[in-house]
Amino acid sequence: MSKVITVTGRAVPVRGDDIDTDRIIPARYLKEITFTKMGDYPFFDERFAADGSQKPHPFNEARFQGAQVLLGNVNFGCGSSREHAPQALVRWGNPAQPGIKAIIAESFAEIFAGNCVMLGVPALVASKADVASLQALAEKAPATEFIVDLAAMEVRAGGLSVKVTLPESRRKALTEGTWDSTGLLAANADKVAANAKKLAYMNGYQ
C-alpha cells in the first residue's frame, strides 16, 4: 500500500457549506454494482441540466480540469454514507486525468472523512480564513501548484503556507501506508476471537 506523504497538484474550489453526498453523486448512479464508472458522475446534477446542457460548476471549467486538490467549506460530505461520493471524486475525469487526491475544507462530515482515508485520500481541515485564501488563489491563478504536506501538516501554494489538521491516527495511517485497514485488523484474529468469547450475546447469554 502506498504511503501518502505529499499530494502535489492544481486545486479546484467547490464553494458552499453542507455539500451533501447526494449532491456529490445522485442516488441513481448507486445502482451500478461496481465503482468503475463513478468518475463520470461527480456533482452530476449540479453540472448538467435535465436536457444534458452544462450548468456553471467548477468541475465543468476547463481551467480546473486535472485538479487533484479539492477545496471545500463547512461540513463537506454530509448525509448519506455512500462511499460512491469519494470514489466519484477520486475517479473524476478521463484516464489522463488523475482525479482528486486530497481534500481541504473547514470541516468534514465524519463518515465521509473516514471513507476518504480508506481510499488513501487525506481530508484535511483548515481555518475559515485559510480556506478562503486557498479558494481565492485557485480561482485567481488556477495553474498554481498546491503542495499538501502531511509531514509538515501544511499546504503551500503560490507563496501561501497554511496549517492543516487531521486526526493523528489518520495521518499515521496515510503516511505509513497502512490506510487500507483490512490487513491490520486481520493480523489480530486471535485477539478478536478472544474478545468475542467474552461477549454475552456471542454465547447466547448462557
Binding site: D22, K31, I33, A50, S80, R82, M118, T182, L185
Partner: protein, 468 residues
Amino acid sequence: MAKGTLYNKVWDAHAVAQLPTGQHQLFIGLHLIHEVTSPQAFDMLRERGGKVAYPARTFATMDHIVPTTSQARPFADAQAESMMQAIERNTAEFGVNFFNFATGKQGVVHIIGPELGLTQPGMTIACGDSHTSTHGAFGTLSFGIGTSQVRDVLATQCLAMDAMKVRRVEINGQLKPGVTPKDVTLYVINKLGVKGGIGYAYEYAGSVFDGMSMEGRMTVCNMAIEGGARAGYVNPDETTFAYLKGREHAPKGAAWDKAVAVWKGFASDKDAVYDDLVTYNAADIEPMVTWGVTPAQSVAVGGSLPDPAATPDAGERGSLETAYKYMKLKPGQRMTDVKVDVAFIGSCTNGRIEDLRAAAAVAKGRQVSKSVKAFVVPGSMQVKVQAEKEGLHEVFKAAGFEWREAGCSMCLAMNPDQLVGDQVSASSSNRNFMGRQGSSTGRTLLMSPAMVVAAAVTGHVADVRTLA
C-alpha cells in the same frame, strides 16, 4: 473525556486492540448489509481471496432499489435486477443470512433489525448506511460505514475506529399534544445544526425519552446523523426489554433473564461524565416542518421563514440563500401557505407500525386532496402484515392513499418512486437535500407522518392539531 456512559461501556467491551496507527480495533456484534453498498465490498473480498470471518453475525436484506408497486421478479429496471442478483449470489457464496421476499421478513434494514430482535442492548452495530444510528434506540453503539469498511467487517468482524465524544441531549417536561418524536428530533437538529454533532455520539436522555416508545426512540436516533452525530442512543430500560421480549432472535427462557441483567449494566452510570450537555424544555417544541435543503432548515408549522440577512455567518447565510433559490420560497412566507403535490409516508425514520397507526388516525374519515398524489410504504413485510391485520390499509385506501410493498421508496428514490420536475413533497423521511427524492429540481418538506396526512388532505402544509 466521557466516563461511565453507555458509549464508554459498549466501546470498552468491544475494543480488541490498539492498532499501530493509534486507532482502535472495535469488534462489531451485528453487521447489517443491503444491496447497494455491499456488492463492491464482496468483490474486494473476493479479489483478496478472503472469506467472511463471522458469517453468522452478518444479516442481509434488500430495500433501497426494490419497487414498491410489485416485488415480482425480474424487476423492470435491469440495473436493479442485476443488483438483486448480486446480493443473492454474494449471500449464498459467503454463507450470509439473507432476508429475501420469500422469508416474509424483507424490509428496510433499520426496521427489520429491531423487529426481528437482532438489535440488542450493549452491541456494536455497523451497516453501510448512515441511518444505522437508528439502532442506538436500544442502547447500542451503532453507526454507518462506507463500503471499504463493509469489506473490513466482512473480512474481520472489526473496524478501525477513533474514539468519539459524548454529548448528553436532555429534554425534560411534557410534550404538547400533537408533538411527535419526529418533531423532537427535527427540533434538536434545528437547535444544534447539521454539523453540531460532528465527532460526537448523542445520548438522548430526560423524561421525554424515558416516556417515549421504542418506535419513537428509533425515529429520534435515526436522525442523529442528520445533526452530524454518527451515533445516537437512549439508555436501555423496561420499555426496551418489553419491546424485545419474544422477538425471533431475542434470547429466550433462562437466557432472557441473564440478558436483561447484562443489558441493564450497559446503561450510563448516574455519575457518568459527558463531554457536553445540552438541555431543552419539552414544552417549547412544536410540530416541525423543514422548508430548506438541510434537515436543520426547519420551523414550527405555524411559523414563517427566516430572514437570511439576520444571519451573521456568511457561510450559513449562503446556505439559506441556496435553500431559498432551490425551494422557490421567500423569507417571511408562512409554511402553511406552501402547497404540496406528493405525500409520502414511510422510510427507516417513520415506516414502523406506530407511524402507520398515527397516520391512519388522522387519515380516517378524511380525503386526500385531488391535487395530491399520496402513498404509504410500510417499512417491512412484517409491518405491512401487522397494519393489514389492524385494517390500517383500508383506512388509507379509503382516504385516497396508495398502499404499497415494503422498501425505502421515495426517501432516496433509487427505485420507481420519484418526484417529477419541481414537485413539492410532504415526506416522513429524513433528508430534504437537493435532488434527494429523484428529481434534480424536486422539493422535499420533512415532517411527522401525522403532518404528512394533514398536508395530503388539505393540499398544503397544515398543523395537524387544527385540522377540520
